[in-house]
């Protein structure tokens, strides 16, 4: 038996967009164990809740993550609204759903690009990001911000999407879907992608469930958990099925995300068809007094915002549990037994968002 050595992986590594450190215990080329350490970019956003009034904290909650910022803002608002017993107007809920789905498309396309890049498929990486740009353009046109939308507020949304714009968005989705089909085929069928991802980093159904995997990582292993099915925002009025794959390897996780982009397109279409006319916000009266766990489905999985108020303008506690944090134990499990050369692909396959994990 050969000697065991430890190879440090990260926090700076070409494949990692954000810093996480893994100590890889190797025997020859095989990883025996992976020991993660986090804490490189802790920003203390939760503490800021005591210094900013609760309506302004939305801006900070949104900046937890630079990719799914809208959903962070929305989840925080949902929590505060629940504490204050606010009835959010229907139209605002539909608008939140539409923006959430656009965020999901943009996040998944970003990830698909990064994944292609990790595999070494530069051309595909650029094709994905070119498509993502068209999603960002829609977000900028409707909210004013490409990445940080800033359109959610306690009690509703800040901006309305006029009817014509909505029609135009739905029309543009057709072209987007056609273009995305082209690259989706590459991700799902191309020989080189399959060779690099099939059977790599397998997470069994049982492990995914017991280690608390969420989002596409869980759904790639056949665990059909999708928080959108709980019917927050307007999801209760929309028909869709969670995308589930059963193989549990990197290919399955990639396939889940590819198919979720199609399901997002469908959700936006349904929401645009069903959106009612009316108000887009209610004015909150008084201050939040009480506590609430608010949950939502981020592109990476289940996001939890805990808010606690004591009847003053400032909340006393905010706690954010992001999906990447719960996906780290499954990641450690996937890494055990893999080849060193597969580590980048496996790490990326959980779609790690370290900035939002450490808040």
């Amino acid at each position: 038996m050969s000697r065991r050595i430890i190879v440090p992986f990260g926090p700076q590594h070409p494949v990692l967009p954000e810093p996480i450190h893994l100590d890889l215990v190797l025997q020859d080329e095989r990883v025996v164990e992976a020991i993660p350490s986090i804490g490189y970019i802790h920003r203390g956003l939760e503490t800021l809740v005591a210094k900013r009034e609760y309506p302004e904290y939305v801006y900070i909650a949104e900046r937890t993550c630079g990719i799914c910022s809208f959903i962070h803002g929305m989840t925080y608002c949902q929590g505060v609204e629940q504490v204050m017993n606010l009835e959010v107007p229907e139209r605002a809920l539909f608008l939140r759903t539409i923006w959430s789905e656009y965020s999901r498309m943009h996040s998944h396309l970003l990830w698909l690009g990064l994944f292609a890049d990790a595999i070494g498929f530069e051309n595909l990486f650029m094709a994905s990001w070119r498509l993502r740009e068209s999603v960002l353009d829609v977000l900028e046109e409707t909210t004013g911000g490409r990445v940080i939308q800033g359109s959610c507020k306690v009690g509703g949304v800040r901006r309305d999407i006029p009817g014509e714009t909505l029609e135009c968005m739905v029309r543009d989705l057709e072209g987007f879907e056609r273009d995305f089909k082209e690259i989706a085929n590459v991700f799902l069928r191309d020989e080189s992608i399959i060779a690099r991802t099939r059977g790599v980093g397998v997470l069994s159904h049982g492990d995914a469930y017991h280690l608390g995997a969420v989002g596409p990582t869980a759904r790639g292993s056949g665990v059909a958990i999708d928080l959108r099915k709980t019917g927050y925002a307007a999801y209760g009025k929309i028909h869709f099925k969670p995308v589930v794959e059963t193989d549990g390897d990197c290919y399955a996780r990639c396939a889940v995300r590819v198919k979720e982009v199609f399901s997002s397109i469908d959700i936006v279409r349904q929401a645009a068809a069903k959106i009612p006319e009316g108000e887009i916000e209610v004015k909150p009266k008084g201050n939040p007094n009480g506590e609430c766990f608010s949950r939502a489905e981020q592109p990476r999985g289940e996001l939890v915002h805990y808010v606690k108020g004591d009847g003053s303008r400032h909340l006393v506690r905010s706690r954010i549990r992001t999906p990447t944090l719960t996906n780290v134990p499954p990641l450690v499990k996937m890494l055990a037994g893999c080849e060193l050369a597969d580590v980048p692909v496996i790490v990326l396959s959980i779609d790690p968002c370290i900035g939002c994990m450490e808040r």
Binding site: E140, G145, I183
Partner: protein, 133 residues
């Protein structure tokens, strides 16, 4: 399983014009509601300090005695909050970004030129006291 799935997209890409813009020869894409940077109309600011209190990043500083309004461009996260809360509606969100700068140039100080309009004193005071009694 298939070979050369990407070939069609890749070949078409070489035939199409570039997806990116030739910035700065072609200006960057902005929409009517894009958030670029905050500007102030110093003639209308009433120095109430609301923007300073509500700014989530603490970028604004209003000094009432010196009649100055300043914003730290490098701290500002362009969230539009100050524009929404300003009671005098003197802040606007421009669509263009502020140019790149060094740390020391980030703070922009504006002298507030607002003058409280003179109230016709006698008549107003009389009316008020009349109402009060």
């Amino acid at each position: 399983m298939a070979f050369f799935e990407m070939a069609k997209t890749a070949i078409l890409t070489t035939l199409k014009s570039p997806a990116t813009r030739r910035y700065p020869a072609v200006s960057a894409k902005v929409t009517a509601i894009s958030r670029g940077r905050v500007t102030i109309d110093p003639a209308r600011c009433i120095s109430c300090g609301m923007c300073m209190r509500k700014c989530p990043s603490g970028a604004i500083c209003v000094v009432k005695d010196e009649k100055t309004w300043s914003v730290d461009r490098l701290k500002c996260v362009v969230c539009n909050c100050c524009v929404e809360v300003c009671p005098a509606h003197c802040l606007t969100m421009e669509t263009g970004y502020s140019p790149s700068m060094t740390v020391h140039e980030g703070i922009e100080v504006v002298q507030i030129t607002y003058v409280k309009p003179e109230r016709p004193p006698q008549k107003g005071a009389e009316e008020k006291s009349g109402q009060g009694s």
